[in-house]
């Protein structure tokens, strides 16, 4: 085999760039560049369209229309309550999954993460079958307490929790697994009972992941559509959340739909920025 040593041209600037990147060439081969650019265009163009067509002048008046305001307020408070509930019941579950072993644990973990991959509308159907007035649990709630869940704000919260809580659980479980248990051992030798260790050592140590998981959960709850519209319907002021309002407004009032979409886009950007250390550090996403 003959080794080719024919020189190619390398400018001073290119040399500096190359040495700064420890020798890796920076130019991209054409067969990779073209598809990559198409992918970028595909992801960015729709967002550009949204920004270009946005009714910037009337934004305030459109958003202060009663329907939009109602949807915004409903979405904000249900997503917040969902996050609160997920913290209260999801973090203990994450602890159980991370720190104990029991038969059926793998199955339980699979069930907990299932909503991550399940089409949300299926989740909505499942919730309906369990909690509707004739559902598995719902029939007793109705006959014993006169409690009807579907098509109420409570149903919105349940649908959002079903879909969003697993994001919090897997984030926190991962953090608990990778946390140094030496600190918990040290706390035990210093006389701390198990709940004290959890409260004063475990939770503070995983606080960054707890925060990230909560933000992720809140963002997912805010964007929830399928499970919510199936289980809770779309009554303005009652169960019509932002994404559902966007969907209906597109037919009747496109300007409002775009304005509401902008709000959701803004929220997403804020979430992304707040999670940048976890999700935007190239290659080290956990």
């Amino acid at each position: 085999m003959v080794t080719r040593t024919a020189p190619s041209h390398l400018t001073a600037r290119a040399r500096a760039r190359r040495s700064a990147r420890s020798g890796a060439p920076r130019s991209v081969p054409a067969p990779l560049l073209a598809p990559a650019l198409i992918a970028v265009a595909f992801l960015v163009l729709p967002l550009v369209g949204l920004l270009v067509r946005a009714p910037w002048r009337h934004l305030a008046s459109v958003l202060s229309g009663t329907d939009a305001t109602q949807a915004l307020i409903l979405s904000l408070w249900t997503a917040t309550v969902t996050t609160g509930i997920s913290l209260v019941i999801g973090v203990p579950l994450a602890w159980v999954l991370a720190r104990t072993t029991f038969p059926g644990q793998r199955l339980l973990r699979a069930l907990v993460t299932l909503p991550l991959v399940l089409p949300p509308v299926v989740g909505g159907v499942a919730l309906l079958l369990a909690f509707s007035r004739v559902g598995l649990v719902g029939q007793y709630l109705d006959s014993w307490f006169g409690l009807t869940i579907p098509f109420t704000p409570l149903a919105v919260i349940m649908a959002e929790t079903f879909v969003a809580m697993p994001f919090l659980i897997i984030t926190v479980e991962g953090a608990l697994r990778s946390a140094d248990q030496g600190f918990e051992e040290a706390a035990a030798t210093l006389g701390a009972k198990r709940m004290t260790v959890f409260r004063r050592i475990t939770v503070p140590l995983i606080a960054p992941s707890l925060g990230a998981g909560a933000v992720l959960c809140w963002a997912r709850a805010l964007g929830e559509f399928g499970a919510t519209i199936t289980f809770a319907g779309s009554f303005p002021g009652q169960t019509e959340t932002m994404p559902i309002a966007v969907y209906y407004a597109l037919e009747t009032d496109p300007a409002a739909a775009i304005a509401l979409s902008l709000v959701l886009l803004l929220v997403s950007v804020v979430v992304l920025v707040s999670l940048r250390d976890r999700w935007l550090r190239g290659g080290s996403v956990q």
Partner: protein, 364 residues
């Protein structure tokens, strides 16, 4: 073998961790510092974990001042948080999200003290260990020596009846180690309960411990005072730690036939049967000619396989019957023009040989 059984720590137990089994039988009296010396993986940290209640024993029992902490046969187990134990961990494990003061106040608080009382107890300990100025720092703003003192203060603030130290100086650089060691010795002297100190550094063990136990592969191979262990090592590991040549042999009065070949004439101690012979590397004399030997002098030929410069002397690795490590001055190396492969004659006086039985080395 039960000094202070009623007021000290007594461990007579087996601890299994996976395929590793630790078997120990030891006692530490109040006010005593018991050093546990051994190579990595000997089971030193496992023993501390068992005493602290972080891992249960698989058989046998652990008692402190007559109170059972763990008894596998009776099924008794006192949880770690309920044992009156102060533990200084190898890398200190200071809580990174708490200040120095909060770290030290953690134990009084966890053991039921009110917030204010815990804070004043903590400031008392910070004061005693000269840490008052660092009270508001976070652990990542401390030097190694400071972190070590905070870890000690945190362990002592819980008013433990027993103190456990796992390699307390190994995280420090050589420069600060001696200072911190001297300071630690002072604080250990003030502690009234028994103290168990784990180390793999023989100097640390010799300086800090009153009694030493040598652990190898989960078993106790030697116990005694630091002085005795430094003089009469029982195993090759210990001999290497304290820097002695160690031979096993068969004694018949003043004659000892060495297991690895060769023989020694020793001062007659009336010993017969299996014995150990320890020789300081500096007690062996190197020459290029066969010396005029008297009956009290052992001489044998050997070949140099290695030379290492150690501060002010050169250590020779010698192969012969028997092989030996010998320390000589750099000047002697030059005068005798020694190099790897050189043939030399070794000689050592009978009175320089420490001859003892394995049983002698075990007496505490």
């Amino acid at each position: 073998m039960t000094p202070g059984a009623s007021d000290g720590l007594v461990v007579d137990a087996e601890v299994k961790r996976g395929s590793f089994t630790l078997t120990v039988n030891l006692a530490a009296a109040s006010g005593q510092v018991l050093g546990l010396l051994g190579p990595n993986g000997a089971g030193k940290s496992t023993l501390l974990a068992a005493v602290a209640g972080l891992t249960p024993v698989s058989s046998g029992r652990i008692t402190l001042a007559g109170q059972v902490l763990d008894d596998a046969e009776a099924g008794t187990f006192v949880e770690a948080s309920r044992r009156p134990v102060g533990f200084v961990f190898q890398n200190y494990r200071l809580f990174p999200h708490l200040t120095v003061a909060e770290n030290v106040a953690f134990s009084p608080r966890a053991r039921g003290m009110g917030r204010r009382a815990a804070r004043s107890a903590a400031s008392n300990w910070l004061n005693r260990l000269g840490l008052t100025d660092l009270a508001q720092r976070k652990p990542d703003q401390l030097s190694g020596g400071q972190a070590q003192r905070v870890a000690l203060a945190r362990a002592l603030a819980g008013q433990p009846a027993l103190l456990l130290l796992d390699e307390p100086l190994s995280a420090l650089d050589a420069g600060t180690r001696l200072d911190v060691q001297a300071e630690l010795k002072r604080h250990l002297a003030e502690f009234t309960g028994p103290c168990v100190l784990v180390t793999h550094d023989p100097l640390e063990a010799l300086v800090l411990a009153d009694q030493l136990i040598v652990l190898e592969a989960g078993r106790i191979v030697q116990r005694g005072t630091p002085g005795q262990i430094a003089r009469q090592p029982a195993t090759d590991y210990v001999a290497k730690l304290v820097g002695l040549n160690l031979y096993t042999g068969d004694a018949n009065g003043s004659q000892v036939a060495l297991t690895a070949g060769g023989s020694f004439v020793t001062a007659d101690q009336g010993l017969h049967g299996e014995v150990l012979v320890a020789v300081r590397p500096s007690a062996i004399v190197v020459g290029t000619q066969r010396p005029q030997s008297s009956s009290a002098r052992n001489t044998w030929p050997a070949r140099i396989t290695g030379l290492t410069l150690l501060a002010d002397r050169v250590r020779l690795d010698l192969e012969g019957q028997p092989s030996a490590l010998v320390d000589i001055t750099p000047a002697a190396v030059a005068e005798l023009s020694l190099s790897p492969g050189s043939q030399v004659w070794l000689s050592v006086k009978a009175t320089e040989l420490e001859v003892y039985t394995r049983a002698d080395s075990q007496l505490a």
